[in-house]
C-alpha cells in the first residue's frame, strides 16, 4: 500500500487515493460526468411529484393528533359531500391482515404492521399516524376536506421514552406483540419485541483479569433521514385490475412486493415505475402512501397522487431509533480484553428497530476476545423507525468509540495507536460469531495516522481534536442488468437500481471497463418492474457492488456472444477468438475493436442482447476513521466543527468523486446528528419541532470542507474489488466530535445531540464541581 497522488485529471484534489499500484483500469477510477447529470442541473429530471397524468386527482392524509388513542369511529360523510372531493379512504378499505410476513431481501417485514402503519387500524399509535385519506380535484381541496372528517378518539396514555416503555406498567402499544428471544416468546404481551444476547469467550472472568475497566452510559435522540424530497406516490388502478404506481422509492421491486402484500393482489398485477428519487438514506424503502393512493384510485377510477407535507414527514415517517446504550471495556496489558454492552433502541410504533445491527456493530471494529452484548427492541408511541444509513451502528459507535478514547487517554496512548493495537483484522471473530475476511481497517487507521490533519496545530484554547472509527456490514443481494449492443459501438444498460447519488454511472463504468469502451459509450437507464429482472433496494451500500457485478456479468455474456459472432465472421472457432482491452482478436492477426465488431452485427445475424441476474455474495465490510476539529464557545456551549477529515476503505473507488461525495455527505449527516438534530417530544408525546426550521439539519454555513482519503483494499469477492461505501461515513462523527469536545474542554458528553444548552450546562456543572473541589 502506498500513497499515490490524487487523480491528475481533476484540478482539485479533495481526496488522496491510497491504492494498490498494480491495479490498472481504463475507466474505473476516472471521474466522468454522470449520465443523468444534465437533466438534473437543468430541472428536467422527473421526480415523483413531477408525474403528470390526465384526470389526476390529488390526495391528502389525515393524521392522528394523539400519540396513542383508540379509534372509536370515523365519519367521513361531510368530507365526501364537499365539492371536488372524490373519495375518502380508511383502514377499512385495506385487507385486515393478521401476522403475514414478506421477505424483502435484507429484512422480513410483517405486512399486518405495514398496512396498519399506512392507515391506522383500531388504534393510532403515534402523533402523526395516518388515519384517513382524501382524493380531490386539487391538493387544496383535499387538504381542506381533511378537517371535515370526524374521528372519535379514546385517548390512551402514551410513552415515548425507551426506558419508560420497557417498564412493566408502561402503556402497552400492542396486545399481540410478545418478547422474542431468539425464537422463544414471552408469556405476556410486551413493548419489548425482541431481546438479543451475543457472547464470546468468558467476559465475566475476563473483566476480573483487566487492569483497567471503564463503563459508561449513553443516550441518543431520534433523528430523521431528512431527505429533501417529500415522499410522493401516484397510483392508477385500471379497470383490468392492473395497478401502476409511480413511486419515489429506493427499491421498485420491494415496493411492488409490499403493495401486492398489503393489498392482497397478485404481484404480477402491480407495475412500479421508479421516478428520480430525492434522497432516501434508508427512509424510502418502506411504503406509506402507495397503497393509500391505490385504493383511492380504485374508488375513483382515476389516477391519484399523494405527496406528504414536511410536517407529515417528520411526524409520520421513520426516524432512526433513539437509544440508551451502556458500554464497558476492559484492558489487560494494553490490549482490549473484555467488553460488555447493553443496548435498548426504540422501534417506534411497531416492532423491528435496528437492535440486531446495533448489537453486532457495537464492538465490530475491535478484537475483543471476551464480550457479552445484550439488546432490546422496544415499541414506543413514536413513528415506526426506519433504516437510516448504517442503521443501528451510529448509536453503538458513539458509545464504544467514546469509551475507547477514554481508555487510550487513561493509558497515555495515542488514540489511533490504541485502535491499531486492537483493530479487527482478517480472522478476527466478531461478537455475533462472524469471522472477518480481508478487511481494511488497519490500513484505514494508518492512513488517518499519517494524514497531515492529525498532527496539524490547533488554533486557540477552545479548540480540540477527536478521532473515531466506524464500521458497517454492507450487503449483497439480488440485482439484474440487461445490455443491448448498438451498431455504433455503444451499449444500452438497463438496470432496476434506483439512482440516488450517481449509481447509474458507477455501474455503467464497470460495464465499460468490462467491454473495453468508454464510460460515455454506455447509456444507463433505470427502468420499471415490468422491464428488467428483479433487483433489490438501493440500500445497504450494495448497488455499486451488486448491480455493478450484474453489469459486469452481463458484459461478460455480451463478450461471449460477440466472440461467437467474430468466430462466425472470421470462419474460425470461438476459442480462437480473444478479447482484451476492447479488441477482439482472431487467427492470422485479424482483429476488430468492440465498435468495429458492433458495426458488423446487424449484417451477420443481428444485434446482440446480454443479461445477468446475480445474488451477490461477499460484500465485505466497510471501515472508516474520521478526524474532527472543533471549537467550543465556552460562554454559549456552541460547538463548531472547524476542520474534518474522513478516511475510508472503499475496496476500489469506481468513480472517486461520488465515493468522496458519500463520505462527505455521510459525515455531514453525522455532524448534524452529533450537534443539533433531534426529535423533541412534549409530555403528550407530540413532536414539537416538525419543521426544517426547528429540526436543524446542517446548512452550508455550519460545516467546513470535508477532506477525504480513499483507502483501497480490494474486496476479493468482487471483480473490481468494490466494497460498499455509502453507509459507513455516518457512523464515526458523533464520537469523533464528542472526543474533540473532550479535547477542547475536558468534558465527556455522552448524550446526543451535543446541543448548545446541553454543552453549556455540562460546562457550568464542571465549573461548579471544580469550585466545590477547590473549597
Amino acid at each position: 500500500m502506498t500513497d499515490s497522488p490524487s487523480d491528475a485529471a481533476t484540478d482539485y484534489a479533495p481526496s488522496r487515493v491510497i491504492a494498490d499500484p498494480d491495479l490498472r483500469y481504463e475507466v474505473i477510477g476516472t471521474r466522468p460526468v454522470r449520465h443523468d447529470g444534465v437533466d438534473k442541473v437543468v430541472g428536467r429530471a422527473v421526480y415523483g411529484n413531477d408525474v403528470r397524468l390526465p384526470g389526476l386527482l390529488h390526495g391528502a392524509v389525515l393524521r392522528s393528533p394523539h400519540a396513542h388513542a383508540r379509534i372509536v369511529s370515523i365519519d367521513a360523510s361531510a368530507a365526501e359531500a364537499l365539492p371536488g372531493v372524490k373519495a375518502v379512504a380508511t383502514s377499512a378499505d385495506l385487507p385486515d391482515l393478521t401476522d403475514c410476513w414478506t421477505n424483502l431481501g435484507e429484512v422480513a417485514i410483517n405486512l399486518a404492521h405495514l398496512g396498519a402503519n399506512c392507515l391506522a387500524r383500531r388504534k393510532a399509535l403515534y402523533r402523526g399516524h395516518a388515519v384517513a385519506a382524501v382524493a380531490a380535484t386539487s391538493a387544496h381541496v383535499a387538504r381542506e376536506a381533511l378537517s371535515a372528517i370526524r374521528v372519535e378518539y379514546e385517548v390512551l396514555p402514551a410513552v415515548t421514552d425507551v426506558l419508560e416503555a420497557m417498564e412493566d406498567d408502561a402503556p402497552l402499544l400492542h396486545d399481540d406483540v410478545f418478547t422474542d428471544s431468539m425464537g422463544s416468546s414471552s408469556e405476556h404481551p410486551s413493548n419489548v419485541s425482541r431481546h438479543l444476547v451475543f457472547e464470546q469467550g468468558d467476559p465475566e472472568r475476563a473483566f476480573a483479569e483487566c487492569d483497567l475497566v471503564i463503563d459508561r452510559d449513553f443516550r441518543t435522540a431520534s433523528v430523521h433521514q431528512g431527505y429533501i424530497e417529500l415522499p410522493v406516490a401516484t397510483a392508477q388502478w385500471s379497470a383490468d385490475g392492473r395497478l401502476t404506481v409511480w413511486a419515489s422509492t429506493q427499491g421498485s421491486f420491494t415496493t411492488r412486493q409490499q403493495i401486492a402484500g398489503v393489498l392482497r393482489i397478485p404481484i404480477s398485477d402491480v407495475r412500479v415505475i421508479p421516478c428520480e428519487i430525492g434522497g432516501g438514506f434508508g427512509g424510502k424503502i418502506t411504503l406509506y402512501l402507495e397503497p393509500v393512493a391505490a385504493i383511492l384510485s380504485r374508488k375513483t377510477g382515476r389516477p391519484v397522487k399523494i405527496q406528504m407535507t414536511r410536517a407529515g414527514v417528520f411526524q409520520g415517517t421513520g426516524p432512526t431509533p433513539g437509544s440508551v446504550v451502556r458500554v464497558g471495556l476492559g484492558v489487560k496489558d494494553g490490549r482490549l480484553h473484555a467488553g460488555r454492552a447493553w443496548l435498548a433502541y426504540d422501534a417506534g410504533a411497531f416492532p423491528g428497530g435496528m437492535i440486531g445491527a446495533g448489537c453486532a456493530c457495537v464492538f465490530s471494529c475491535y478484537d475483543i476476545p471476551n464480550a457479552r452484548v445484550v439488546g432490546y427492541d422496544v415499541c414506543a408511541n413514536k413513528p415506526k423507525t426506519q433504516a437510516y444509513r448504517a442503521p443501528g451502528a451510529t448509536q453503538a459507535a458513539f458509545a464504544t468509540e467514546t469509551v475507547i478514547d477514554e481508555l487510550a487517554a487513561a493509558l497515555g496512548v495515542d488514540p489511533i495507536d490504541f485502535r491499531l493495537d486492537n483493530a479487527a483484522v482478517e480472522g478476527t471473530t466478531r461478537v455475533d460469531g462472524t469471522v472477518y475476511p480481508r478487511i481494511g481497517f488497519v490500513e484505514t487507521l494508518r492512513a488517518a495516522r499519517r494524514h497531515e490533519h492529525y498532527t496539524a496545530p490547533l488554533d486557540g484554547p477552545s479548540a480540540g481534536r477527536g478521532v473515531a472509527a466506524g464500521f458497517w456490514f454492507n450487503i449483497g443481494l439480488k440485482s439484474s442488468a440487461n445490455v443491448h449492443c448498438n451498431p455504433d459501438g455503444t451499449v444500452m444498460l438497463v438496470i432496476g437500481s434506483t439512482d440516488i447519488g450517481g449509481s447509474r454511472t458507477s455501474i455503467a463504468m464497470q460495464l465499460a471497463e468490462t467491454l473495453g469502451i468508454s464510460a460515455e459509450s454506455v447509456h444507463p437507464q433505470v427502468t420499471d418492474t415490468d422491464s428488467v429482472g428483479y433487483t433489490d433496494v438501493t440500500g445497504g451500500s450494495r448497488v455499486t457492488f451488486a448491480t455493478g457485478l450484474a453489469a459486469h456479468e452481463a458484459g461478460l455474456d455480451l463478450i461471449a456472444q460477440m466472440r461467437d459472432r467474430a468466430a462466425f465472421i472470421w470462419g474460425c472457432e470461438t476459442h480462437d477468438v480473444t478479447f482484451d482491452a476492447g479488441v477482439f482478436g482472431g487467427p492470422d492477426g485479424r482483429s476488430l475493436t468492440f465498435a468495429g465488431l458492433a458495426a458488423e452485427l446487424p449484417g451477420s445475424g443481428g444485434l446482440l442482447t446480454a443479461r445477468a441476474t446475480v445474488d451477490a455474495v461477499g460484500p465485505t465490510n466497510g471501515f472508516g476513521v474520521h478526524i474532527a476539529d472543533v471549537d467550543v464557545d465556552r460562554e454559549t456551549g456552541k460547538v463548531s466543527v472547524t476542520r474534518y477529515t474522513t478516511v475510508q476503505d472503499a475496496g476500489k473507488a469506481i468513480h472517486p468523486s461520488y465515493v468522496e461525495g458519500q463520505m462527505q455527505g455521510g459525515a455531514v449527516q453525522g455532524i448534524g446528528w452529533a450537534l443539533n438534530e433531534e426529535y423533541v417530544f412534549d409530555e403528550r408525546g407530540h413532536m414539537e419541532n416538525p419543521t426544517m426550521l426547528d429540526y436543524r439539519m446542517p446548512t452550508a454555513l455550519d460545516v467546513p470542507m470535508i477532506d477525504t482519503v480513499i483507502v483501497e483494499v480490494p474486496n476479493p469477492m468482487h471483480p473490481f474489488g468494490v466494497r460498499g461505501v455509502g453507509e459507513t461515513p455516518i457512523v464515526p462523527p458523533p464520537a469523533a466530535i464528542a472526543n474533540a469536545v473532550h479535547a477542547a474542554t475536558g468534558l465527556r458528553l455522552r448524550v446526543l445531540p451535543m446541543s448548545p444548552p446541553r454543552v453549556h450546562e455540562a460546562l457550568v456543572q464542571a465549573g461548579a464541581d471544580e469550585d466545590a473541589g477547590g473549597r
Binding site: 429533501i228 450517481g502 426544517m692
Partner: protein, 164 residues
Amino acid sequence: MKIHVRATVNGEPAEFLCEARESLLEVVRETLGLTGAKEGCNNGNCGACTVLLDGVPVDACLVLGAEAEGADVTTVEGIAEAGRLHPIQQSLLEHAGLQCAICTPGIVVTAKALLDRNPDPTEREIRFELAGNICRCTGYDKIVRSVQDAARKLAAERIEETSA
C-alpha cells in the same frame, strides 16, 4: 374567482389564471409545467423551490402567484441559454456537486444569483448565501467547489470577451 396575472417567465411573456391561495411554486409547476423548482418543505426552510423574482432569489413557496403580476420570474429551466449550460451547471456536473439532485435546481438558481452579484465570492460568502438551500446528500463540499469553479469559468469568459 381566479386572478389573471401577466408576468415574464424565463424571458418570455406569460399569462396565467390562479387562485389567490396558489403559491408561485404551484403556478410555475402546475400551471406553467415548469417542474424544475421542487417542493421540499412549503414554508421557506429548504430552498428547493428557489426562483429568481426580478433577479433576486426567493422561495417560490412563500410568494403568491398573484404577486408575480408584472414581475420577471426565472426558474431553473431559464438558467441555461439556448441549450448552453450556465457555468454553474457545468461545474456542478464536473465536480459531482449533486447526488440525489432534488436540491440542485435551487442551488443552481441561488448560485447563479450569487455569481451575478459577486463574481469572486470567498468560501464563506458562498456558504453564507447558499445557507438557505439545504442539501442532505453532498455535505456541501463539492457544491462549494462547483461555485468556486464556476466563478473561475465566468472570469475566463469575461477575459475572453474583453480580448475579443
